[in-house]
Amino acid sequence: MDAHPIDISWLDLIFAAALILVAIALSAYQKLGLEKQIVLGALRATVQLIAVGYLLVWVFTTDRWWIVLAVLALMVVVATVTAARRQGKTARDRATVFPIAGFAILAGAALTLVYVSTVIVHVQPWYSPRYLIPLFGMILANAMNAAALALERLQSEMESRRGEVEALLALGATPGQAAAEPMRRATIAAMIPAVNALAVVGIVSLPGMMTGQILAGADPTLAVRYQLVVMFMLTAANAITAALAVALYRRTFFTPAAQLRVRVAV
């Protein structure tokens, strides 16, 4: 079972890029107007991934704990910016949302990574980039989506349930009590992708990581065990990040005197 991965040459990659032409042609034929976005997206993906490939080679060969931590930190920042950017409409909103998204993502992702790398995978040495960076990347992508969904949904629930929230405040509710239903809904919305992924994995979807390991020659049963660890890990990260993002973001909707802030008005 120790097959070596089949090499993909640069020429092979150019043939693969031809597949993009199919999407462009279909977009043009259906007048979707997506051609420019597809080209730019494909170029971005190519540049980013090639850069990441070389960066990883460098990180793996230098093999220093502080370089690994710096890479992980950079990943958190990018994930945070991505999650927060979707939410904040104005610079002030973003200034509010950024630290919340950052903390929620960092806490959810870091706690999960530490548990998986020390208790389950026994990564040696503890900072081994070959394990930490891909694991953290997967966790972060999930935590980032969870944070973005949680923030977005809480905002919209607070707006659409403004009357209910204020009616509860008027009855003497704390902000936490008044916002309980919006918070519940936002947390569910953020959790659903992870929960759904758990239910359909192996049937509807063959996860990329597992497929990748199999393509790279790993024993499929080991790939499956890794995948299960990853799925459980992503679910945990998702839950922690969603709960934190919702709890922290909720506070921004209220004044210290338990009043709804103006920005919810619209």
Partner: protein, 255 residues
């Protein structure tokens, strides 16, 4: 509940609320323009005036759903900001223009108000019946789904829910605005009756002058965030001192 006999400001010289130089803005728009005003304790105070006068903005200050940009509001002689806000809101209830029903039955709706207080025990059946009776709803309503009720019934449930906390003051923001005239009239009679039986201080924003005539003991006429005039209901409604009030009352006759 021995304030039941209090019928107007003359019986209780200390005002329920005292506003001094209150300014309120929202999104750069001036809503209250240095308002100085006493709202009497006991009785039914109607806040009247054209739309945009600042009636609702004023009402929302009284249980601190909003705070003013500047100026002070006192409740029974104490600055509002010195009263713990949750306790204040249990003492000063609020009924919104569009009643918001929580999930579940009418009983569950009343239960929410009970649960938000410090009392650990659920609302007793007898208490539910008593509250429904106060708002003149049949006891059978307790187990109806609140969201399925008619507009007038919902407003009565909202009223009963606000009474769960045994407030001293009830603020009502155009409680009849969304109702048919007949339903609205019946609700106003319920309010008047409720005030007489409980001695609650009621402060009601209304756009229906009829309500002010039928139920009010005190009337405050507002315009452009200022007080035009305030006084005994009979005085303001029948012999207004200000030309602007006369004009407004005359224009609103057919309401």
């Amino acid at each position: 509940m021995n304030r039941a006999l209090a019928t107007g400001p003359r019986d209780s010289p200390e005002p329920a609320f005292r506003l001094h130089e209150v300014r309120q803005e929202r999104s750069g728009k001036l809503l209250l323009d240095g308002l100085t005003l006493d709202l009497p304790r006991g009785g039914f105070t109607a806040l009247i005036g054209p739309s945009g006068a600042g009636k609702t903005s004023l009402l929302r200050l009284l249980n601190r759903l909003d705070d003013p940009v500047s100026g002070t509001v006192e409740f029974l002689g104490q600055p509002l900001t010195e009263v713990p806000v949750r306790a204040l809101r249990r003492r000063v209830g609020f009924v919104f223009q569009a009643p918001v029903m929580f999930a579940g039955t009418v009983r569950a709706n009343l239960g929410v108000a009970q649960r938000l207080g410090d009392a650990a025990e659920p609302l007793a059946d007898g208490e539910v019946a008593r509250l429904l009776e106060l708002v003149e709803l049949d006891a059978g309503f307790a187990d109806r789904i609140a969201a399925d009720l008619s507009g007038g019934e919902k407003q009565r449930v909202a009223l009963a829910r606000a009474l769960v906390t045994q407030p001293e003051v009830l603020l009502l923001d155009e409680p009849t605005a969304a109702l048919d005239p007949e339903v609205a009239d019946r609700l106003v009679h319920t309010l008047a009756h409720l005030r007489e039986t409980t001695g609650l201080t009621m402060i009601v924003v209304t756009h229906r002058l009829r309500e002010a005539r039928v139920a009010a003991t005190w009337v405050v006429m507002l315009e452009a965030g200022r007080v035009v005039e305030a006084g005994e209901a009979t005085q303001v409604m029948q012999r207004p001192a200000q030309p602007r009030t006369r004009e407004f009352l005359a224009a609103g006759e057919d309401h």
